[in-house]
Symmetry: none
Subunit: 121 residues, 2 copies
DNA sequence: ATGGGAATGAAAATCATTTTCATTTGTGCT
DNA sequence: AGCACAAATGAAAATGATTTTCATTCCCAT
């Protein structure tokens, strides 16, 4: 298994903590960094595994990565401008737990995301 | 511009109102319907334009379509055997609505999925 | 029948992402 | 230093969904 290349994380930070793999790659190229696209993808995967970055999807399906806070949270994403708000999911945690128990599931995790149009769009 | 092929919509309904373009295509093939993948994509696009169906994204980025306003359900998926249980998400609906309103979002939808290990695994 | 626009679908093009695999780099050991 | 072995790297090929192209077929009003 591979470890994350630190330059990838630092580029993601510089990009405003919000970019696709391809964008990070192009950004590094433009700045004269020598790196392969493969390594960018691998590093991002590893950062996601380590829960250092979050992965979302653009409307066109391209994956976008961004630094995430430490607390477990969910997202409210605008379909128009892509603006994202981190929100609390207390209700979800409970719901997931109850549903899982009800069906005899163990080691449960969950995903939940809300999307719509923000006030500006 | 092209119009939606009615058989595509009817297949989407039959699929539980929740399927990807590829799945709809395979389903129609399996049932002996003669249709091209291109037409499936075009029909879905047109249905989305007409707001008859909604488009979401799977975790892997594949687009999934579902009938608008359809009472939708969520999934409890086993990480071990892939077994899936359909569950109610009343708590989620409420949570999504409240959170969206709180941040001034309109036309909101959401995705939520629980995963873990089922009793057999 | 016939002319034209819409619908169709096979095949090629696109694009993000993953896989393969040979090469390079790093690290610990003697 | 020299050696061995694991991890990291990246170019190129493979994959898979989606879109585009384009020639053909269908349908409908004249």
């Amino acid at each position: 298994m591979s470890r994350s290349n630190p330059r990838v994380l630092s580029t993601l930070e510089r990009a405003g903590g919000f970019a696709s793999a391809q964008e990070i790659y192009r950004l590094m190229q433009r700045e004269g960094e020598s790196i392969g696209l493969t390594t960018v993808y691998r590093s991002l995967q590893s950062l996601v595994n380590d829960k250092i970055v979050d992965v979302l999807r653009r409307d066109d399906g391209e994956a976008i990565y961004r630094l995430c806070g430490d607390a477990h949270h969910h997202h409210l994403v605008c379909k128009g401008c892509g603006d994202t708000v981190e929100i609390e999911g207390g209700a979800i945690e409970k719901w997931a737990k109850v549903m899982a128990e009800e069906h005899g599931f163990r080691e449960v995790g969950h995903t939940a995301e809300i999307f719509g149009l923000c006030s500006k769009c």
